[in-house]
C-alpha cells in the first residue's frame, strides 16, 4: 500500500510536469493546427535560464527560487514570441507541413546551438528552492515534488482564468474556433497568436525548471523525450483542449511511473505510445475531444 501511494505521488509530480509542457502544445495546436516541435527545446532553454539565474542567487530560499522561476518564464515567453514572429509567421496561410518543417529546423537549431554554446556534457542543477525530505507512514515525500504539484496546479488555475475570464482569453478562443470570423469582428490575430506563444512558452519554462529540480541534470538535448511525451499527453486528452491536456498528462505520468516500478521497466518509453495508439483507435479525437464532421 505504501509503495502504491509512493508511486502515485511520483506519478502525480511527473504528470504535473508533462501537463505544463502539454498545455503549450495544445494551445498552439488549437490556434494554428500544427505541432510546434520547437516547444520541447523552449522547455530546455527554460531549465538553462533557471540554472544561470539560480547560480547568482542564494541557494535554498523561496524568494530566490521564485526569482529563478520567474526569470525563466519571462525569458522563454520572449523566445517563444520571437520564434513565432521570425520563423512561423512568414509561412502563415501556407501548408501546415511547411511550418512543421520550419519548427523542426528551429528545434534542431536550439539543440545544436545549445550544444555549441553550453557544451553537451550534463550539468547538475542547483537546489534553488529549500529542499527537505519528509517520511510519512512509509512514504518519502520530497518538498520539490510537492512544489512541482503546487506550482503546476497554480499555473493551471491561472491559465484557466486567463482563457475563460479575460478579454485576451476570449480572443484566443475565438481565433481557435474560426480565425477568419474572429478577424472580421476585430480581433487582432497577430497579437493573439504572439500572446499564445508567449503563454505556452512561459509554461514550458516553468516545466523545465521544475523538471530540473526533480531530475537534477540538464543538457541541451534534455527536452526531446519529455517534449514528445507531453505531446502524446496533449493528443491523449484531445488536442486543442486545455483540461484534456492536463488529464492526459496526469494519466501518462501515472502509467509511466507504475510501469517503471514493475518488471516491464525497460519498456517505459514505448508504453506512452502504446496507450496513445490504443486510445486513438477507440476515441479518435482523444479523451475529452469532440469529433467534428468535416463539411464540404
Amino acid at each position: 500500500m505504501a509503495e502504491f501511494l509512493q508511486q502515485l505521488l511520483n506519478g502525480l509530480s511527473l504528470g504535473a510536469i508533462y501537463a505544463l509542457i502539454a498545455l503549450g502544445y495544445t494551445m498552439v495546436y488549437g490556434i494554428l493546427r500544427f505541432i510546434n516541435f520547437a516547444h520541447s527545446d523552449v522547455f530546455m532553454v527554460g531549465a538553462f535560464i533557471g540554472y544561470f539565474v539560480g547560480e547568482h542567487l542564494p541557494e535554498g530560499t523561496v524568494g530566490g527560487g521564485l526569482c529563478a522561476l520567474a526569470a525563466a518564464m519571462a525569458g522563454c515567453a520572449v523566445l517563444g514570441i520571437l520564434i513565432e514572429r521570425f520563423a512561423y509567421r512568414p509561412l502563415r496561410g501556407g501548408p501546415t507541413l511547411n511550418v512543421l518543417i520550419t519548427a523542426i529546423g528551429v528545434s534542431l537549431f536550439l539543440e545544436y546551438t545549445g550544444q555549441l554554446v553550453l557544451g553537451a556534457t550534463p550539468r547538475s542543477f542547483p537546489q534553488i528552492f529549500p529542499a527537505r525530505v519528509v517520511a510519512v507512514g512509509g512514504i518519502i515525500i520530497s518538498t520539490s515534488q510537492l512544489l512541482v504539484i503546487a506550482v503546476a496546479a497554480a499555473l493551471l488555475v491561472a491559465l484557466q482564468f486567463i482563457v475563460y475570464r479575460t478579454k485576451i482569453g476570449m480572443a484566443m478562443r475565438a481565433v481557435a474556433l474560426n480565425p477568419k470570423a474572429a478577424q472580421l469582428v476585430g480581433v487582432n490575430i497577430d497579437v493573439v497568436i504572439s500572446f499564445t506563444f508567449g503563454l505556452g512558452s512561459a509554461l514550458a519554462a516553468a516545466g523545465g525548471v521544475l523538471y530540473a529540480l526533480n531530475y537534477p541534470s540538464i543538457d541541451p538535448l534534455m527536452g526531446v523525450v519529455p517534449g514528445l511525451k507531453a505531446f502524446v499527453a496533449a493528443v491523449l486528452g484531445g488536442v486543442g483542449n486545455i483540461p484534456g491536456a492536463a488529464l492526459g498528462a496526469l494519466i501518462l505520468g501515472m502509467v509511466e511511473t507504475f510501469v517503471d516500478g514493475s518488471r516491464w521497466s525497460t519498456y517505459k518509453d514505448a508504453i506512452a505510445f502504446a496507450i496513445l495508439i490504443g486510445i486513438l483507435l477507440f476515441r479518435p479525437a482523444g479523451l475529452l475531444g469532440r469529433l467534428t464532421a468535416e463539411k464540404v
Binding site: 518543417i101 520550419t102 514528445l228 495508439i277
Partner: protein, 324 residues
C-alpha cells in the same frame, strides 16, 4: 522519354558496370555515394506516402529498422549454415543477400499493413503521431531483444552492400513509384491527396489507397534498412529513431512533395551537405538547421519545385521583340 522498363534495365546495368570498377574509387567517396543511394530509396518510397498520397508518416525509420534487423539476422545467423565454412562463392553470397533483403522488405511491409489498417482511418496529424509512436515502439522492442544485441546493437554483419545493390534497388524504387502513380490505378493516390471527400464520393476507397501506399513505402524502407545494415556492418536501435524519420521527411518536403525528381535531388543534397560541412564540424548541425529554416521560408513549395510553364513563358516573352 525512354520506356520505363528500358530505363530501369539501363540503370541496373550502369550500376553493375560502375560497381565493377568500385575498387578504383576512393573508399570514402564510395561510402558517401552508397549512403546517398540508400537515402534516395528512403526518400522516394516515403514520397509515395507523404507526397503523392498526402498522408504524413513519421515512422519510416521504424520500417527501416525492421528490414535492417531481419536481413542482418538472416545473414549473420543463417548465413554461415547455408554457405558452409568456406563462405560460399560470390554468387551464393549475392543470392543469400538478395533473399535477406527481400525478406526484410516483406517483413517491413507486413508491419506496414499491421500498423496501416487500424491507423489510416485517422486523419492528418494523428497519422503522424501514431506512426511516430510506432517507430518508437519498434525501437524500444529492439532494445529489449537480447538475441539481436539489445541496446548495444547487432555487430559483425557481413559487408555485402555494394554500389550495384544500392543503385539497383534505388532504380527499382524509382521505377516502381513512378509507374505506380502514373498508372490508372495510381491516380487514386493523387485523388486521395487532392481531396479525400471528393474521391470518396466518386467511389474510391481512400483508406485502401493509403494502406497500399503505406505498404509499398514500408517494403522499400525495409530494403533500404537491409542495405544500410550491410554497409555499416553494425546497427543499433537508436540509429533508427525519430530523428532519422525526420531526416527522411525533410528530404521529401524540400524536394517538393509528390515530385520524384525533386525528392531524389533533395536526398542527394541533404546527404552530401553534412559531408561538405565537415570542415566546420562544430557548426555543422547549426548550419544545417539554419539552412532548413531559410530554405523553407524562401522556397515554401520545395527546393526543386519549379513552375516550368511560367519560366518558359518568361523566356519566350524576353526573346520576343518588343511591340514598340
Amino acid at each position: 522519354m525512354p520506356k520505363p522498363l528500358t530505363a530501369l534495365a539501363a540503370a541496373v546495368l550502369a550500376a553493375f558496370a560502375v560497381s565493377h570498377f568500385s575498387d578504383r574509387i576512393d573508399p570514402y567517396y564510395l561510402d558517401v555515394m552508397e549512403g546517398v543511394g540508400i537515402n534516395v530509396i528512403l526518400a522516394v518510397s516515403l514520397n509515395l506516402v507523404n507526397g503523392y498520397t498526402g498522408q504524413f508518416s513519421l515512422g519510416h525509420a521504424g520500417f527501416m529498422s525492421i528490414g535492417a534487423y531481419l536481413s542482418a539476422a538472416i545473414t549473420v545467423v543463417a548465413g554461415p549454415r547455408i554457405l558452409g565454412d568456406s563462405g560460399g562463392t560470390a554468387l551464393q553470397q549475392g543470392l543469400l543477400f538478395m533473399g535477406a533483403l527481400v525478406a526484410g522488405g516483406l517483413c517491413a511491409a507486413v508491419a506496414g499493413l499491421a500498423v496501416g489498417i487500424p491507423t489510416l482511418r485517422l486523419k492528418g496529424d494523428y497519422i503522424a503521431l501514431v506512426t511516430l509512436g510506432f517507430g518508437e515502439i519498434v525501437r524500444v522492442v529492439f532494445q529489449n531483444v537480447d538475441s539481436l544485441g539489445g541496446a548495444l546493437g547487432l555487430n559483425g554483419i557481413p559487408n555485402y552492400t555494394t554500389f550495384f545493390w544500392v543503385y539497383g534497388f534505388a532504380a527499382l524504387t524509382v521505377y516502381t513509384v513512378a509507374c505506380l502513380v502514373r498508372s490508372t490505378y495510381g491516380r487514386g493516390f493523387i485523388a486521395t491527396h487532392d481531396d479525400e471527400i471528393a474521391s470518396e464520393s466518386v467511389g474510391l476507397s481512400t483508406t485502401r489507397y493509403k494502406i497500399v501506399a503505406f505498404v509499398v513505402g514500408a517494403f522499400f524502407a525495409g530494403i533500404a534498412g537491409g542495405l544500410y545494415g550491410h554497409l555499416k556492418m553494425t546497427i543499433t536501435p537508436t540509429g533508427f529513431d525519430f530523428t532519422k524519420s525526420i531526416e527522411i521527411v525533410v528530404m521529401v518536403i524540400l524536394g517538393g512533395m509528390g515530385n520524384t525528381t525533386g525528392v531524389i535531388l533533395a536526398a542527394i543534397l541533404l546527404t552530401l551537405l553534412p559531408e561538405f560541412l565537415r570542415s566546420v564540424e562544430e557548426y555543422r548541425m547549426v548550419v544545417y538547421s539554419l539552412l532548413l529554416i531559410v530554405l523553407m521560408l524562401a522556397r515554401p513549395r520545395g527546393l526543386f519545385n519549379f513552375d516550368y510553364a511560367s519560366i518558359l513563358g518568361r523566356l519566350r516573352g524576353r526573346s520576343r521583340p518588343s511591340p514598340n
